[in-house]
C-alpha cells in the first residue's frame, strides 16, 4: 500500500485531489451522477446475486422483459408504479422540510383502511352512484392517512419527539390495526380478508372500455394513476409556486433563517405531516379500490411506503421526476416477484439508495487528477 503511493508520487507524477466545488455544476451533471450511481448499484447487486447462487445477467434481462415486454406487462408495471408514486410524493414533501416521515407505509395502510371503512362499515349504501362512492372513499382515505401523519407531527411539534422512530412505530401499529378488523369484525367467513367490494367502489380500469377500444382488453391500469399524476402536479405547484411551498423549502434549507423570518415552524411541521399522510392515504385508497378490491394485509402492506422513500430521494424530491422514477421501480417490483432468491428487489433498492447517497459527494466536490510536481 505504502509502496504504491510513493511510486505514484515519483514515477507517475499524478495525484488524485479532492476539492470543494465552488460553482454550481451544470444541469446535466446531477442526472449523469444519478445514472452512474444506479449502474454501480446494479453491478454491485449482480455480484451479490451471483454470490447467492443466481445468474445476474439473466435476472436483469428477466426484469426488463417481464416489465416492459408488451402492453400487457407495461400496464401491470404502471399498476405497480401507482402506489409507489403516491407514497413517494408523500415522502418528498416531508423530506423537503427535512422532516423524516418514514411512516408513508403506515399512512398508506390507514388510507386503505379509511377507504374500506366507507364500504364495509358501511357508511354508504351499496347502490350509491359510483362517482359519489369513489369521492367519499378518496376523502376518507386521505383523512385517515392525515390523522396517521398528524400524531407524529403533533408529538414532534409539541414535545420534540424524534419523528423517524415515531412514524416507524406507527407503521407497525397500522398493520396490527387492520389485522384486527380483517381477522375479526370484517372477516369473510373466517378468512383473513374482508368481503369483496361492490363494483361501485372500484376505480375505473382500462379493460372496462375494451368494448369500444378492443386494444384495451385485459389492461388493469386504473384511475389511481390519474389521481397520482394530478397529485404530482398539484404538489409541484404547492412546493415551487406557492407561499406555503416557499416556507416549506426555507425551513428545510435553513431553519434558523426561517425562524427569524417569522415562519411558523411548529405549525408547518403538523401541516406538512398531515399533507404527507393524506398523499400516502390517497395511495392506499387507490390501491384498495383499484387493485385489491378488498381489505387484506399482505397486498397492502407490501412496502410501497419504503420504496417511496428511495424514489423520492432518487427524484431529488421533484414531484414531476417522481412520476417517471416510480415507473422504473414499479418494473423492478413487478418483475422481482418471480426472481429467485426472493429478496433480490429489496436488496437492489437498498444498494441503489446507498450508491445514490454516496454519489452526492460528486455534486459537492470535484475530483481532479493533477500532476504531483505542479503543486508544492
Amino acid at each position: 500500500m505504502t509502496e504504491t503511493t510513493s511510486s505514484q508520487k515519483k514515477s507517475m507524477g499524478f495525484k488524485i485531489r479532492v476539492e470543494p466545488r465552488l460553482d454550481e455544476p451544470p444541469a446535466w451533471h446531477p442526472v449523469l451522477v444519478s445514472l452512474g450511481a444506479i449502474i454501480v448499484a446494479l453491478i454491485l447487486g449482480g455480484i451479490l446475486i451471483s454470490f447467492a447462487g443466481g445468474d445476474p445477467i439473466k435476472s436483469y434481462l428477466h426484469i426488463a422483459d417481464a416489465s416492459f415486454g408488451d402492453t400487457g406487462v407495461l400496464s401491470d408495471t404502471i399498476v405497480k408504479a401507482t402506489p409507489i408514486l403516491l407514497a413517494a410524493l408523500a415522502c418528498s414533501v416531508a423530506f423537503r422540510m427535512k422532516l423524516w416521515n418514514i411512516g408513508a407505509e403506515g399512512q398508506f395502510i390507514m388510507g386503505a383502511f379509511g377507504a374500506s371503512a366507507v364500504v364495509l362499515a358501511p357508511l354508504l349504501a351499496e347502490d350509491t352512484p359510483r362517482w359519489l362512492f369513489l369521492t367519499v372513499m378518496a376523502l376518507a382515505g386521505m383523512a385517515a392517512g392525515a390523522i396517521w401523519g398528524f400524531i407524529p407531527g403533533y408529538l414532534k411539534a409539541k414535545f420534540n419527539v424524534n419523528e423517524i422512530i415515531s412514524t416507524l412505530m406507527m407503521n407497525y401499529i397500522a398493520v396490527a390495526w387492520i389485522n384486527f378488523w380483517i381477522f375479526g369484525v370484517w372477516s369473510e367467513g373466517g378468512f383473513q380478508m374482508s368481503p369483496k367490494f361492490p363494483n361501485n367502489a372500484w376505480l375505473p380500469r382500462l379493460l372496462e372500455y375494451a368494448k369500444t377500444y378492443p386494444a384495451l382488453r385485459g389492461l388493469t391500469t386504473h384511475a389511481g394513476l390519474l389521481l397520482g399524476i394530478i397529485a404530482a402536479v398539484v404538489l409541484w405547484l404547492i412546493v415551487y409556486r406557492s407561499r406555503w411551498g416557499y416556507e416549506i423549502r426555507l425551513i428545510g434549507d435553513n431553519p434558523h433563517a426561517a425562524k427569524y423570518a417569522g415562519i411558523n415552524i411548529t405549525g408547518n411541521i403538523i401541516y406538512v405531516m398531515m399533507l404527507s399522510g393524506a398523499l400516502a392515504g390517497l395511495g392506499g385508497m387507490s390501491e384498495v379500490s383499484g387493485v385489491v378490491h378488498r381489505l387484506q394485509t399482505s397486498p397492502l402492506a407490501a412496502g410501497y411506503g419504503f420504496t417511496g422513500i428511495i424514489v423520492a430521494w432518487l427524484a431529488k424530491l421533484n414531484p414531476i421526476v417522481i412520476v417517471l422514477v416510480s415507473v422504473l421501480f414499479g418494473a423492478l417490483i413487478l418483475a422481482g416477484r418471480e426472481i429467485q432468491p426472493s429478496g433480490v428487489p429489496k436488496m437492489i433498492q437498498g444498494i441503489i439508495l446507498v450508491s445514490l447517497i454516496a454519489s452526492d459527494f460528486l455534486l459537492r466536490y470535484r475530483i481532479r487528477i493533477v500532476r504531483a510536481d505542479a503543486e508544492e
Binding site: 424524534n162 423517524i164 390495526w177 429478496g343 436488496m347 437498498g350
Partner: protein, 322 residues
C-alpha cells in the same frame, strides 16, 4: 401468568435490545447517528444462524455475526464520515441494504431445522437469592450474563476512562478534540464499527438464544428501531438502557402470556375468546416506544440534557463553528 417467569423471560428477550442499544449509544456518543440498526441486526441474526449450521459451533456463529454486522456498518461510516452525507438517509439505506442482503443470503435458512444454541446455565449461590435469583441467575443464556457484565463496564468506560473521555469529546465538540490531537475520523469509524458489532451480537442473540431460527424480516420485527428509540429514552446512558431493555423484554413476554388463560383477573379472558383482540396487545411495544420517546424528550427539555452536541453533523476540518 407467573410474574417470575415473565421477568425471567423479559431479561432474556431484553438482552437483544440491550446489546443493540448499547452499540447505538457508542456510535451516537461519537457523533454518528446510525439508523441502520435493524438491518445490521438482521445481518447478524442471519450470519449467526447460517455459520452455526455450517460449523456446528454457536460461538463461531456469534463471532461471525459481530464481524459481518461490523463490516456492513462501515458502509455507513464511509458515507457519513468520509463523504459527509446525511446520516439519516444513509442509515435508512443501510437498513434497506442489510434487510435485502440478509433475505437474499438467508434464502432457505428457515427450513434448515435446529442447530446447537448458546448454552444456558444457572449460577450457583447467586441463583439461591430469593426473587432475584430465579429471575436473573437461573437457566439464562450465557449471552444474558455477558449483558450483565457489559452494562457496568460500558458505563465505567464512557464516564471514567481516558478513551471514554475522548469518545465524548469527539461527539460533543469535535474541533476541540481535533486540536488536542484526537483523530475525529478514526474514532468515529471505530465506534460505528463497535455499534455494528453490538447490533450483530443482538441479532445473534435472537437467532441462537432467545427465539432460535431465521424467519426473514420477522426475526427482528422492528426491534432495531425500538433500540434506536431506547437510546433517546436512556439519554445515552447504558444503565438506563438496561432498565428500558428489560422492561420491553418483559412486556413482550406479558403479551404472549396474557392470551393463554381462560380466566383473567376473575373475568372471562377477552383475548382468549376473541383472539383477534390480541392485535391490540401486539401494538403495545410500538405504542410504548412512542410514549417512552415522549417521556425521554420531555425530560431532556426539563433537565437541559440532550443528545451529544455534534450528533448528526459531519466533521469537516477547518470549517468554523462546528
Amino acid at each position: 401468568m407467573d410474574p417470575i417467569i415473565i421477568l425471567q423471560a423479559g431479561v432474556a428477550t431484553g438482552t437483544v435490545l440491550l446489546f443493540a442499544t448499547i452499540g447505538e449509544i457508542f456510535a451516537e456518543r461519537s457523533g454518528v447517528l446510525n439508523l441502520g440498526v435493524e438491518g445490521m441486526m438482521l445481518i447478524g441474526a442471519m450470519t449467526a444462524f447460517s455459520t452455526t449450521i455450517a460449523t456446528g459451533n454457536p460461538w463461531l456463529g456469534v463471532l461471525a455475526a459481530m464481524l459481518a454486522a461490523g463490516l456492513i456498518s462501515q458502509i455507513h461510516a464511509f458515507i457519513t464520515i468520509t463523504l459527509q452525507a446525511d446520516q439519516v438517509v444513509s442509515g435508512l439505506a443501510l437498513t434497506f441494504v442489510g434487510t435485502g442482503i440478509s433475505l437474499v443470503l438467508g434464502e432457505g435458512l428457515s427450513k434448515a431445522g435446529t442447530v446447537s444454541l448458546m448454552p444456558n446455565f444457572s449460577i450457583p449461590l447467586l441463583s439461591q437469592i430469593p426473587f432475584l435469583g430465579p429471575i436473573l441467575f437461573t437457566k439464562q443464556s450465557v449471552l444474558v450474563y455477558i449483558g450483565y457484565l457489559l452494562v457496568p463496564l460500558t458505563w465505567y468506560y464512557i464516564n471514567h476512562t481516558r478513551p471514554g473521555l475522548n469518545l465524548r469529546a469527539v461527539g460533543e465538540y469535535p474541533s476541540a478534540a481535533d486540536s488536542l490531537g484526537i483523530s475525529v475520523f478514526r474514532l468515529r469509524y471505530f465506534y460505528v464499527f463497535i455499534g455494528g458489532m453490538m447490533a450483530g451480537l443482538a441479532g445473534a442473540t435472537i437467532s441462537l438464544a432467545v427465539a432460535p431460527g431465521w424467519f426473514s424480516e420477522l426475526t427482528t420485527a422492528g426491534q432495531g428501531w425500538i433500540a434506536v428509540g431506547l437510546v433517546i429514552f436512556a439519554q445515552w446512558d447504558p444503565v438506563r438502557a438496561m432498565f428500558g431493555s428489560y422492561a420491553f423484554g418483559a412486556l413482550r413476554r406479558l403479551i404472549l402470556d396474557i392470551q393463554g388463560p381462560t380466566i383473567l383477573f376473575g373475568f372471562n379472558n377477552p383475548f382468549y375468546y376473541n383472539p383477534y383482540w390480541g392485535f391490540f396487545l401486539q401494538m403495545l411495544p410500538y405504542a410504548f416506544t412512542v410514549i417512552v420517546l415522549v417521556i425521554g424528550s420531555r425530560e431532556a427539555i426539563r433537565k437541559r440534557l440532550g443528545a451529544p452536541a455534534a450528533l448528526g453533523n459531519p466533521y469537516v476540518r477547518g470549517e468554523r463553528g462546528k
